[in-house]
């Protein structure tokens, strides 16, 4: 089979798996698991095969016309574009999706809605693969929207809980809010360049011979950026992502690591020449990226829910990728996308295990329990690896990709990149370094709070802290008061931590296996900076000395400061009855309260959007009730009154009827006579 056919099968297989999964889910439950796992695995194998065959060479393209649009030049094509970016991202998507599917077989073992869940995950994967491989903007949009609706369903998997319902609605609405300008941007771009084919668009834009120039590059770039911000959770449309934690943990892993959020970055990467055509758009992108990465990192430092920490971390890391794009280096961006996909999937999946073991999402409660590292050693070790990668400590994968981003920013800042504004470079560089500090800080905080046992009380300190902590744990398992939006799976979907053996909680083997499988790329994917430039644009991804030293330095500083603060606050907490060992409190100071609330962006949206909309709805309701209904009721009452009046004539007395009949006859006769004689007599 040719590479093109293989590539076409990659999105098709999960889609077929999803269709059959939905069809057979109820009738043949035995097929559900194979149907969920096997197509995704096969698609992954094929994606790897495609990547190997493509081998970083020139892009392979194939297209067949899908639908005419009335303009022959603008026909919609079912087109594939296999370049280095596409095949590698597809491999990432496939690997993460396969891991998620495998993990889900264990994680959602007891869930009655597992068949539809697995089918939706497959469909989600298929849509993402379609986005990755597609060479046509409209087909890309189709995959984009299918992802949106799948995320709606998956985030709302536990629809019994109001948190999940509102989170799924929020995710849907916010991403759709970005999709509208995105659609307009696509149409504007296509109408200006005369094609929906991305390769054609890019060729016309980049080739000096074609002479095509966008008339409104800034406008188009900003319109596209709005859609990307919605999908990739960039400020100010990021607020759906932390709430989306209400979904099952594997879904979070899928959304955060490989699909959904990555698609936005990937699309900007594909259309980068459109953005570089406008310096203003790049600066806007850089500002958005800078604000998002630092803000999200600060928020991550203040969150209590493990999954929300990870969610804000994802937002922050996505902003890194966006920053790389803002300085015109999509190689670095996609490199970070790949490594981040690996270690963030690992983080989420291990967090899922951790949450099962602890029975709560709350870091505060975990910090009081302690001993989790012993109970879930696999999760402990893999999560440690992933956190090190996240904190960009060499030689883990995150280090190399983040260095690639920072190096690109440095190049841009010093004006070594043609057409990239230096301001964007400086912005990304400074924000990236600050965020590196914060990233290390919240990674260390997460690790310390989750796994380190509470500090022993100093000599002579009163109070049986251990007993109190355990009592607190038991209380917190019911309703953890610290957690603003408790992910409901502890109550609903927690697969029973079965296999009680040697006093240890054993997670299903498939879950831990997946963790270790994902740990490998988190460890070694960083070395990809050596071969990857051949697959990408050919630009070097090797870390430069200056930024490496700087970034690693600030990371270490952040980590150490956090550790020191933790020692301090944990000691204090142990000494005092209501102390909190959270170092974030001390580090952020007065900022903590705002950061914990996501800098009140939701409150702002509530005030700016939700309340006016509700007011308008009430106005419309009032108008409907008071004005429109009046006419409707008036019509009804009028007919009723008329009926009542007529009903009075129905006395049931024959003589009354006859009298009325005769009276009428008489009147008619008189009229007839008068008419006849009136003519003659007048």
């Amino acid at each position: 089979m040719s590479t093109i056919v293989l590539a076409a099968l990659v999105p098709a297989l999960p889609a077929l798996g999803a269709v059959f999964g939905l069809l057979l889910g109820r009738t043949a439950p035995g097929f559900v698991r194979p149907l969920a796992v096997l197509p995704t695995l096969a698609a992954t194998v094929l994606a790897v095969l495609v990547a190997v065959r493509q081998g970083g060479g020139p892009a392979l393209r194939a297209a067949t016309e899908l639908a005419p649009t009335g303009n022959d030049a603008l026909a919609v094509h079912l087109a594939l574009n296999l370049d280095g970016f596409a095949v590698l991202v597809a491999v990432l998507v496939g690997v993460v999706a396969s891991c998620v599917q495998l993990y889900s077989t264990g994680y959602l073992r007891e869930d009655p809605r597992y068949p539809s869940y697995a089918a939706l995950v497959s469909l989600f994967t298929a849509a993402m693969l379609l986005v990755v491989y597609s060479d046509d903007l409209i087909v890309l949009l189709v995959g984009w929207e299918v992802m949106g609706i799948c995320s709606y369903f998956l985030v709302g998997h536990y629809w019994e809980t109001p948190a999940a319902r509102s989170a799924s609605l929020k995710a849907f609405l916010v991403t759709k809010l970005g999709d509208v300008p995105f659609l307009i941007g696509i149409l504007a771009l296509a109408s200006e360049t005369g094609s929906f084919r991305i390769s054609t668009v890019l060729a016309r834009l980049t080739s000096p011979l074609s002479g095509t120039d966008l008339a409104h590059p800034t406008l188009i770039a900003l319109l596209l950026l709005a859609g990307v911000a919605g999908k990739s959770a960039l400020f100010p449309l990021h607020s759906w992502l932390p709430d989306a934690m209400a979904g099952p943990t594997p879904v979070s892993a899928l959304i955060h690591a490989a699909t959904m959020v990555a698609s936005g970055v990937y699309v900007v990467g594909r259309l980068l020449p459109v953005f570089t055509a406008s310096a203003a758009a790049l600066v806007v992108l850089a500002v958005v990226a800078g604000v998002t990465m630092t803000g999200a990192a600060l928020a991550a430092l203040a969150q209590d829910d493990v999954k929300r920490v990870l969610a804000y971390s994802t937002i922050s890391q996505l902003a890194y990728m966006a920053g790389a794009l803002a300085v015109g280096d999509r190689g670095a961006s996609v490199f970070h996308l790949l490594t981040h996909g690996a270690f963030k999937a690992l983080l989420f999946l291990s967090a899922g295990v951790l949450i099962h073991a602890a029975g709560t999402n709350s870091l505060t409660v975990m910090s009081r329990t302690g001993g989790l590292a012993r109970r879930v050693p696999d999760a402990f070790w893999t999560m440690s690896i992933a956190l090190l990668a996240l904190a960009a400590i060499p030689p883990f994968s995150g280090f190399f990709s983040k260095e690639a981003v920072l190096a690109a920013a440095e190049h841009a800042a010093f004006g070594e990149e043609a057409g990239i504004p230096a301001a964007a470079g400086w912005l990304v560089l400074v924000a990236g370094l600050v965020t590196a500090l914060l990233t290390a800080s919240y990674a260390v905080r997460l690790w310390l709070l989750a796994y380190r046992p509470p500090v022993a009380p100093p000599q002579g300190a009163p109070g049986p802290v251990r007993a109190r902590a355990e009592a607190d744990t038991k209380a917190a398992e019911g309703v953890p008061e610290h957690v603003p939006q408790q992910a409901p799976e502890t109550a609903l979907a927690a697969p029973e931590p079965v296999h009680e053996k040697d006093g240890q909680l054993r997670e299903p083997a498939v879950m831990t296996t997946v963790l270790w499988v994902l740990a490998v790329p988190s460890l070694v994917l960083g070395l990809g900076f050596l071969p990857l430039p051949d697959w990408f644009d050919g630009r070097s991804l090797a870390p430069t000395v200056t930024t490496s030293v700087l970034a690693t330095g600030v990371s270490l500083v952040g980590g150490l400061v956090t550790y020191a603060t933790w020692r301090h606050s944990a000691t204090l907490a142990a000494a005092r009855p209501h102390g909190d060992p959270d170092p974030g409190l001390l580090l952020l100071g007065p900022l903590h309260r705002h950061a914990a609330a996501g800098f009140h962006l939701d409150a702002l949206y509530t005030a700016a959007v939700v309340r006016p909309v509700r007011g308008a709805a009430q106005l419309v309701r009032f108008f409907d009730r008071a004005v429109v209904d009046t006419y409707v009721h008036g019509a009804g009452h009028g007919a009723r009154l008329l009926g009542a009046a007529v009903r009075r004539a129905q006395t049931g007395n024959v003589q009354t009827y006859l009298g009325a009949l005769l009276t009428g006859t008489l009147v008619l006769a008189v009229v007839a006579v008068l008419a006849a004689t009136g003519n003659g007599g007048a």
Binding site: Q655, G659, L662, T663, L666, A669, V673
Partner: protein, 198 residues
């Protein structure tokens, strides 16, 4: 057909006319009493007077056969039937205060209006028409019989069938149904009424 030109006006009535008028007044008076009296049996008896008056008018109009038929059928049988009807429905003997409904005033208005309209029209139309009643008898038995059995045989036979049907119908209606034989009317009426209301 003769016009009134060569005939006496309304102010100089002939003898027949005088008699006709007098009998007509009696008839009309009897009819009015029939529809206004509060004694039901008296109403039937006054009806006899009214119908008899009409028979006399027929005679005055030289329709002898019709006059005797009127006496035979109306006075002889219909009124008897009505009297039977009154008895069978246990009509009270003597004055019954509720013989007339409260709607008698609207009914009076309707009747007077109808009378006014019709009298106006009739008088206006036939003011000067003269009927010759002094010559040949118009309604002798022979003449009527010849006309009836020569020209009106088919309707006559159809009418006989109608009478038969009416006879059968009256019998069927009057017969008590088997299951209701032992019951008095009152109780059954109560049940029916209740059923009908619900």
């Amino acid at each position: 057909m003769t016009l009134a030109a060569g005939h006496p006006g309304f102010l100089s009535p002939t003898g027949v006319e005088v008699v006709f008028l007098l009998v007509g007044l009696v008839t009309l008076g009897a009819a009015i009493v029939t529809v206004t009296t509060r004694q039901l049996v008296h109403a039937a008896l006054w009806l006899v007077a009214a119908l008899g008056g009409v028979a006399v008018e027929y005679l005055l109009l030289t329709a002898e056969f019709i006059a005797w038929v009127q006496v035979l059928i109306y006075v002889g049988s219909v009124v008897v039937l009505l009297l039977f009807g009154l008895m069978l429905t246990r009509a009270p003997i003597g004055r019954s205060p509720d013989a007339d409904a409260t709607r008698r005033w609207p009914a009076l208005v309707v009747a007077l209006a109808a009378a006014g309209t019709l009298v106006t029209v009739v008088v206006d139309a036939f003011r000067s028409t003269w009927v010759e009643v002094d010559g040949a008898v118009a309604g002798a038995s022979k003449v009527t019989g010849v006309a009836l059995f020569r020209h009106w045989v088919l309707p006559f036979e159809a009418l006989s069938v109608l009478l038969l049907a009416a006879l059968v119908g009256a019998i069927v209606l009057s017969r008590r149904s088997g299951d209701g034989a032992g019951r008095t009317g009152g109780r059954r009426a109560d049940e029916r009424g209740g059923k009908g209301r619900s």
